[in-house]
Symmetry: C2
């Protein structure tokens, strides 16, 4: 292959087909940019844009106000003593695991944890003990399971796990676990707790201190209306010196952040959206009401909502017998739903899925959610007599 | 502190003061977005924008053409068997070090290596042996120094270093070392070589196979006209299975990438700029000519260019006795140069520097470089009689 002009035409500017759709993909709803963030994107898009006035430490840059954001606003927002901006929630988790644990140590996590928590632990060399959930239909997590898992680790390895992790909420069913209780149980064993709030921070109120979490992880591109990859990490005063330890080679640079993290449009879109993000979090009750309303409409169609019900989060998992039956009857059945939704400019249920799927109602609003509900009903009706 | 409306006014959209300046900061010149990248930024700015059609593996996404870019264009561009997009050059380096070395192993690197190479090694737990350079004024690196350093490591630790690293060029003097010779020496000892091309890939021709480098690292936001943080990593077929090993928990996910890396505007701006980046690399000889012309003009003013001279890169380090003398005479002397340049809309020499500074001529072009030269002359003249 040669990189000649004809081949290079594959690249350059590429249109985004899903732009303008109603997007109910859980990955997408909390990451849509605000108008301020769109403006920031154009202003700060160039590579190292925020570094023009940097004296060597990214989070101390005063102009733009990164220092105020990282050391003032963010700890307050997360309810943590210290905070940093990272390259993403998974990078935040890895930084904590890699600081708190050594290869061969143990991590206790919830059975609904995101794959990236497993991969971050694997990269660190940690053994994993998962706290079981109750299975279908509720996938409920009993906080006491953390005590049992920690005791098992102690029995097997002779010492408590280096860290515990709770996914708040999980990314499959949107279950919001009793994190406060879990924190209290972990602390009985002196095990620090990491709260993975990739689907919480920036959507719903999360306060590390109120929960008792030692680490709070959030995702900018998932839930803080920021252009990714970008995440946040809040740490208690007790563990901040460990996680934010500095290099012996360069005293200004924090090892786990490899010196600098988000240094362009990513952090500036996060800062641009921040005022609106703070405000939308205050509006969380309305979001939960919207989710429950949407769920009830789908249940009226014979769909079954898995996970906590009534639900407390915008991310929901449905079983849709009506769609599944159609898929069994029509030609190229498993793709009918995707095509029907696409023709209605609704995106977010993966192509090929009909029986089980997750979706998110976050920030979509009653009107557009109504369009989705009506579309589902229309589609069921259209194939009624097939 | 409370996050009330009045406090939140500190954030939101913030203007970028340096926009529109001639920017000769070496961090900035190669990261300026192309027009196609600016368009891509708006189109793909939302958090997880590229994931709408993802089936679980980011680098296999077909629409947008990430798969073609990562598995087709990028290996060809880097001259490597396999490639990935990462969260930045330092993240690429850490992924390689963390795959190739264990805590206590050794890394041999050039004495001009970037601090992030040191920090990545420290995060991995590697011991570091630096190959000395010749010091001022040339800071020349003798390739044979790699042989000496490797032998020292073998003598001290009983085995060869896990990895060698060469900075190509370094970020202080812009010296382009004889990487081919260094690779050949490292391979005599079976030590794999990482080429840190953060200031090369996307500016000048770099080909891992021609050089004999086992790993090629590049920076999207530094040198590939991409919105950061984003980087690239090329790996030889020999080491790809090690660096890109997959999770036991999730077979689709590569451990060192924590599953996914750049999944929004960062990769899409890299793809958008790629055709122009390929073309500008072909124009490298002109860039070197511009750098030499600029350097000769400054030398005519009595400035001394440190590092290789004649120079082979746009990043250059100068000693400016004329500016230093002025700074000794005028009030608040060390800030005079910054202010004078600012009033001429020239940015990139750090505030407070007058005697020693680095700068970059990359992509600035003769006309604007002429403005910088004329400004330097004007400033020298203005203070002649102070």
């Amino acid at each position: 292959m040669t990189l000649d002009d004809s081949y290079l035409q594959k690249f350059g500017f590429i249109k985004r087909e899903t732009l303008g759709s109603i997007n109910i993909d859980p990955l997408q709803t909390g990451g849509l940019l605000t108008e301020a963030a769109k403006q920031a994107l154009m202003e700060w898009g160039d590579g190292y844009s925020v570094c023009d006035y940097c004296a060597g430490v990214l989070d101390l840059v005063k102009k733009p106000p990164i220092q105020e954001f990282v050391h003032g606003a963010l700890p307050e927002f997360l309810g943590c003593d210290e905070a940093r901006v990272t390259n993403g929630a998974r990078e935040s988790k890895f930084a904590v695991m890699h600081s708190m644990g050594k290869p061969g140590d143990w991590l206790v996590l919830d059975g609904l944890a995101h794959y990236s928590s497993y991969v971050a632990a694997e990269r660190t060399g940690l053994n994993i003990k998962a706290v079981p959930h109750s299975g279908s239909p509720e996938y409920k997590l009993d906080p006491e399971g953390y005590g049992t898992a920690i005791e098992e680790v102690i029995r097997e390895s002779g010492k408590p796990p280096a860290l515990a992790l709770i996914t708040y909420p999980d990314g499959s069913y949107g279950n919001v676990p009793d994190a406060k209780k879990i924190a209290s149980i972990c602390h009985e064993y002196d095990v620090p707790l990491l709260l993975n709030g990739a689907y919480a921070v920036g959507r719903m109120p999360v306060n590390g201190k109120e929960i008792g979490a030692d680490f709070v992880v959030g995702s900018g591109h998932k839930s803080m209306a920021a252009s990714g990859p970008v995440g946040v990490l809040g740490v208690s005063g007790e563990y901040a010196p460990t996680v934010f330890r500095r290099s012996v080679h360069n005293k200004a640079k924090e090892i786990e952040l490899l010196g600098c993290t988000a240094r362009g449009a990513t952090i500036m879109t996060m800062i641009a959206s921040f005022p609106e993000v703070v405000k939308r979090v205050r509006n969380w009750d309305q979001e939960v009401e919207d989710a429950r309303w949407f769920s009830s409409k789908l249940q009226d169609m014979g769909f079954i909502q898995r996970g906590q019900n009534p639900h407390s989060h915008d991310l929901m998992f449905f079983e849709a017998p009506g769609f599944y039956e159609i898929s069994q009857k029509v030609k190229k059945g498993r793709y009918f739903l995707y095509k029907e939704l696409k023709s209605r400019k609704i995106h977010g249920i993966k192509s090929g899925l009909t029986r089980y799927f997750k979706l998110s109602t976050f920030g979509v609003g009653r009107e557009k959610l109504g369009v989705v509900v009506d579309s589902f009903e229309e589609i069921l009706k259209k194939y009624e007599d097939v």
